[in-house]
Symmetry: C2
Subunit: 342 residues, 2 copies
């Protein structure tokens, strides 16, 4: 297979041009491009250039406001709020993140609420933006009803990603970011395309019965990770990052959107914690103590999360990003035809 190697900046130019051609304002085109190219750079293919087409489909369907101007409001509480006004979440996050960091330093912990956004990318770029400020961070959002609660029989919860990060000055942070379903919907889609049965325990069919048929699973419901515990965490995400922030839960997002083929519209909750403030007056440097924990984990053969991603990043920064001929052709087609290509 012929591959093309692109410098990160070159891929950014291509993706940004497609986003502009698709009608996104410069603000959104830039923010989305950064998120998508970061995914591709980190060999996180499910959040890389593969997503460009879906982004255009969401714009074409009129399900996102391509030139929304996110608006930040802040009072004397520890909550900063960004109204995304129907635009993609990325620019809203970039607007809110510095204020969130400032409030976390002021109050010890703080929350960023993003309302009325279309969430598109992984949560780890947002987590990493906060760990870069020396903060610990937690992020979560609903998606759309596609996961049955533990003991249930049909789709209700979303795949509801949960992400967390801890800063490691001078090196890549401790970061995890995962769906609270056993598998991501994209993974089931890959089994379907490959004509392979799913592993047991991933999904139920429309009758609520366990199934290993990817088609039946996509029509039925996925299952939460870790049984009733994962189901409870997913429900917590619906409550905190849907109900509490006055934004859509996953069943409401599906109802509003009418399909699972477009990016979901809802809100997002990001919490930031200032370790220096929390550790104040206590013995030991939290940064050094965390390293002791990480060393003990790695020392017994466990891997820290995101290491595969960071290794890919290092390689991409040194050698550029490799895309297949199909991926290049797709990008070329999208750049030429814009929304007409999707």
């Amino acid at each position: 297979m012929t591959e093309t190697t692109l410098a990160i900046g070159d891929l950014e130019h291509i993706v940004e041009a497609i986003m502009r051609k698709g009608g996104l304002s410069p603000l959104h085109a830039g923010a989305l491009t950064r998120a998508i190219v970061a995914g591709e750079r980190d060999a996180c293919k499910s959040h890389g250039v593969y997503r460009v087409e879906g982004c255009l489909r969401t714009i074409k369907a009129g399900k996102v406001v391509p030139d929304a101007e996110p608006e930040l409001t802040s009072d004397d509480s520890a909550i900063v709020r960004v109204a995304a006004k129907g635009g993609f979440a990325n620019a809203a996050f970039e607007l809110g993140a510095p204020v969130l960091a400032e409030k976390a330093r002021q109050f010890g912990l703080a929350a960023l609420v993003i309302n009325d956004c279309t969430h598109f990318s992984a949560l780890w770029p947002e987590i990493e933006a906060l760990t870069a400020h020396g903060l610990a961070a937690m992020a979560m959002c609903p998606s759309y009803a596609s996961v049955a609660p533990s003991g249930g029989s049909g789709p209700l919860l979303g795949t509801n990603p949960f992400a967390f990060g801890w800063p490691r000055p001078g090196r890549t942070p401790y970061v995890f970011d995962f769906a609270t379903s056993v598998a991501a919907r994209g993974e089931i889609e890959l089994y379907r395309r490959a004509g392979k049965p799913l592993p047991e325990g991933w999904a139920i069919d429309t009758d609520g019965k366990p199934t290993t048929d990817p088609e039946a699973a996509l029509n039925g419901a996925m299952l939460p990770f870790g049984g009733h515990k994962g189901s409870a965490i997913s429900t917590m995400i619906e409550l905190l990052a849907g109900v509490m922030i006055g934004d859509l839960t996953s069943p409401e997002a599906l109802e509003a959107l009418g399909t699972t083929a477009l990016a979901p519209a809802h809100g997002e909750l990001i919490l930031a914690f200032d370790p220096a403030r929390f550790a104040q007056g206590r013995a030991g440097d939290p940064m050094a103590r965390a390293e002791t924990l990480f060393e003990a984990m790695v020392g017994q053969g466990a891997r820290l999360p995101s290491q595969r991603r960071f290794a890919a990043r290092e390689k991409a920064l040194a050698e550029g990003i490799r895309l297949t001929a199909e991926e290049m052709a797709l990008l070329e087609r999208l750049r030429e035809k814009g929304l007409d290509a999707v």
Copy 2:
């Protein structure tokens, strides 16, 4: 088997007398009794009267300060801190909770840090104390190294409980509280006492190999729930509720204590969120919207967490608490002999 039925108040008198006999100050005897009797009342046997003996053992070993006076400090941040000064956590929580609730209303969210405590009981009593204030709450703490990280070979993480609650005015709250290990240590202990093999996937032996022998599991390591995802959440708890708050991680707690047979000493982190503040200016009442979500869950056959516990509570409030002859004999022995009985 002969059973004795006791009114809740009568069991409280018995347990409190044992705690006083064991040397706890009235403050601690009262707070611990409330937590233990709440566990027994809710048929949560692993945190019920079964724990009384372990409490006395911890006192006898000199691993807890029986008359510690918890001290609260609060500044203009959203963090309130209670120094437990080596005492049991319960009284420290009771001191800090009202200030946490006040700060959560003031700032939208707030944190209670408990330092240098001996953690003894479940987290749900603390969660329920905050949902009773109309707040959402999250609580977590390390325990002691007994769980292998995903991919690891020996004990490092604790069973690290994670708990969350959402208020439901006029009814029992939405609450979950679970160990981030597949099973709680107390459950494995119950298998050991019953001489029954563990389910597959709960634990590894001292060689890092899977085992179903409770004794080998207690000597080896338990496994996190949900594979690498549960392992990541457990690590997050070590970082936030150990390292960040300047208190012991699970490996440090084990090293400090030297045994897993006594209650662990460390810190605890409790977060509280004010839904009214977070939902301000947004459409819909968060309390009503949460009920819609719960109804949809129950409507498709899923159970909300803690329902078994709440049903047991209702029964206990109406009919009293039933204890076996062995349990009564144990309580009688502890009441008579105090620390000499353990």
